[in-house]
């Protein structure tokens, strides 16, 4: 008999089944599709039309190409420091696709695929990592927050956004991302506790990619899993294979449904691997072996989803080539647009600090503008 935890008692039987079957203390991890692209646990296969799975693969491939190109643009001095998302595309795209348009996304900084699904474009990405706040000016109603750099601080905002949604009785759900390192932060604890106490519609999505810069996951926390930390807060938790698009999608889908039904938050730990460096300023060879990198290369999320699609005759080499061409040209077009964007003006750096600019700030703005005018004669 499966024990039902207090944290799953409000769920429907169907929802509780998944979280109970993969109870964080059972040592089990949800995997639907293995590294060869075979469905190994059909019971938890999400109910998705083939077209949606193809679409997911296309976004993941697009994100992979964009990521690779961005790192190379950084090396050429055309973008500033940026965090590669390579290897984590299934976790990003799978979780984001399980949400509805009305839902909110509160990111950390390494979820490119998720942002693209939510409505950001590569132009936003290039602007942001090319050094302009304009990259965080998403279209009205996108419900995507800007990148949050201080680790896990954004989890509190997710709780607050969900609090406002619940206060109004709206159906929206909030997903927020953090990493294995982020699970050590006080804000992870405070936000988890708050969301559970007020039963808020939040999905805490942990990208456990093995490292917090150089610190290995096993030195980050003595807990066997990050998912099991959910138990202490009285919310359901689950560990999933983060490189398996279907497992990520299914767990997020159940968590979102549960949150939307008014049953509160949950914690998903997606076990994945950051194949790139922490940021372009980092050198992973200082803290991990080539053998380890190679082992994870074989578990890459792109490879297995492509194999799955090819076995189902939904994808082939021609389509792969065609999509790479289309994605490349789309990304190139947006990079050109980024490089043609005008630099910020003096007004731009002042006018968004406050709704109404205080006199002292106006004075500083005029002083700076006058100086620049004098200098430029």
């Amino acid at each position: 008999m499966v024990t039902t935890r207090a944290s799953t008692k409000y769920m429907t039987e169907e929802q509780a089944m998944l979280f109970n079957a993969f109870d964080p203390l059972s040592g089990k991890r949800l995997q639907v599709m293995d590294e060869k692209g075979d469905i190994v646990d059909a019971k938890w296969m999400p109910d998705l039309p083939d077209s949606k799975v193809v679409e997911a693969y296309k976004v993941m491939l697009y994100a992979r190409i964009a990521d690779t190109k961005s790192v190379s643009y950084q090396r050429q001095g055309r973008l500033y420091t940026l965090p590669s998302n390579m290897g984590q595309e299934a976790a990003a795209v799978g979780s984001a696709m399980a949400l509805e348009k009305i839902d909110w996304m509160v990111p950390a900084y390494r979820e490119l695929g998720a942002w693209l699904v939510k409505g950001a474009t590569m132009l936003h990405y290039f602007l942001y990592f090319g050094g302009s706040e304009e990259g965080s000016r998403y279209p009205e109603g996108t419900r995507l927050l800007p990148v949050s750099v201080p680790i896990s601080s954004q989890l509190c905002h997710a709780a607050g956004i969900a609090h406002a949604a619940k206060y109004r009785g709206d159906r929206e759900v909030v997903i927020t991302y953090f990493g294995d390192g982020g699970s050590s932060q006080g804000d992870f604890h405070e936000a988890s506790n708050w969301a559970a106490v007020y039963e808020l519609p939040v999905i805490f999505f942990c990208n456990n990619n093995g490292y917090a810069i150089s610190l290995r996951r096993d030195k980050q926390t003595k807990s066997k899993t990050i998912a099991q930390k959910a138990i202490a807060y009285g919310m359901p938790g689950i560990q999933v294979d983060g490189n398996d698009f279907f497992a990520v999608y299914r767990a997020t889908h159940e968590a979102a449904k549960n949150a939307r039904d008014g049953n509160g938050p949950s914690l998903i730990e997606a076990v994945t691997y950051r194949r790139g460096s922490h940021t372009t300023s980092d050198d992973p060879t200082r803290y991990r072996s080539a053998d380890e990198e190679k082992a994870w290369e074989a578990k890459d999320p792109m490879i297995r989803l492509r194999k799955y699609l090819e076995k189902k005759k939904l994808w082939d080499e021609d389509r792969e080539k065609k999509h790479i061409e289309e994605a490349t040209s789309d990304i190139d077009r947006q990079f050109k647009q980024f490089e043609a964007t005008a630099a910020p003006t003096v007004e731009d750096i002042f006018k968004y600090q406050f709704d109404e600019m205080p006199d002292s700030l106006k004075k500083q703005m005029v002083e700076l503008r006058n100086f620049i005018n004098r200098k430029e004669g």
Binding site: Y138, C156, N193
Partner: protein, 325 residues
Amino acid sequence: MAVMNMVQAINSALDVKLADDPSVIVFGEDAGLEGGVFRVTEGLQQKYGEKRVFDTPLAESIIVGSGVGMAINGLRPVCEIQFDGFMYPAFNQIISHAARMRLRSRGTYSVPMVIRAPYGGGIRALEHHSESMEALYAHIPGLKVVIPATPYDAKGLLISAIEDNDPVIFFEPKKIYRAIKQEVPEGEYRIKIGKAAILQEGDQLTVVAYGAMIRTVQQALQKAKKDGLSVELIDLRTIYPMDADTIINSVKKTGRLLVAHEAPRSFGPAAEIIALVNEEAFLHLEAPPARVTGMDTVVPLPKGEDLYFPDADRVYDAIKRTIDF
């Protein structure tokens, strides 16, 4: 009109805004059921329900951090930090997010939030309950910092703070929470943030102060009046944005400046005010600008605190020395 102390006036401001705007919510540690440790929110949960006025877990970072999220999603949160000395765990949320979200998102998201906290010294309290750290917040781009000196101002300023579209740190001088009673309208009125008040006109010296220090300065001014000294007293009311015009115009008239605050001296508000006057009214000065402040030490525990905080005698001494220079 009712006679209110500052606690009652702040409660009345919250009452007015809760009644007026369903997006206003009030929360903090013990702020719901029991109405806060100083009873500032007393009766509000009973009147508006647990959804709008509620107790929170004992965790300052999420109190402010969830407020940032609530504000992004359309609410106007008014959160209470139990004492200003307990705001530091929320510092990251205040500085890294509340103060930056509008600029970071190019105006897509904003944080119309008020963070209220009992503030300042003089109540013989335990450690961490007596500091005046307004300069920390005034130094952060994106924050407004308001410190009322009277019940009337407290209510009008808090209503403005709640209606402000940017985050406001609202420090309530706990020493004068119940010390001053005044006629305060029961309904809605506003005092503009960023506008100082001239409490007394004079032509020999300008004294700038705020919060509980206003009362101390007024005691010193009674003695000064007996000595025939003519002093202008400005209540700053808002630390940031500062009402530079009122200060500069006054100093141009009097030729002398004294700033009084409880906060430690170095890099404190007085330093900023004196720099401003040096920039804008240098040629009008007839004496070096002076300051009476707390010390660059930790606030002593109650047995020693009277030595630390400026009292009327210290203020009077500085007034006399500046005018006699």
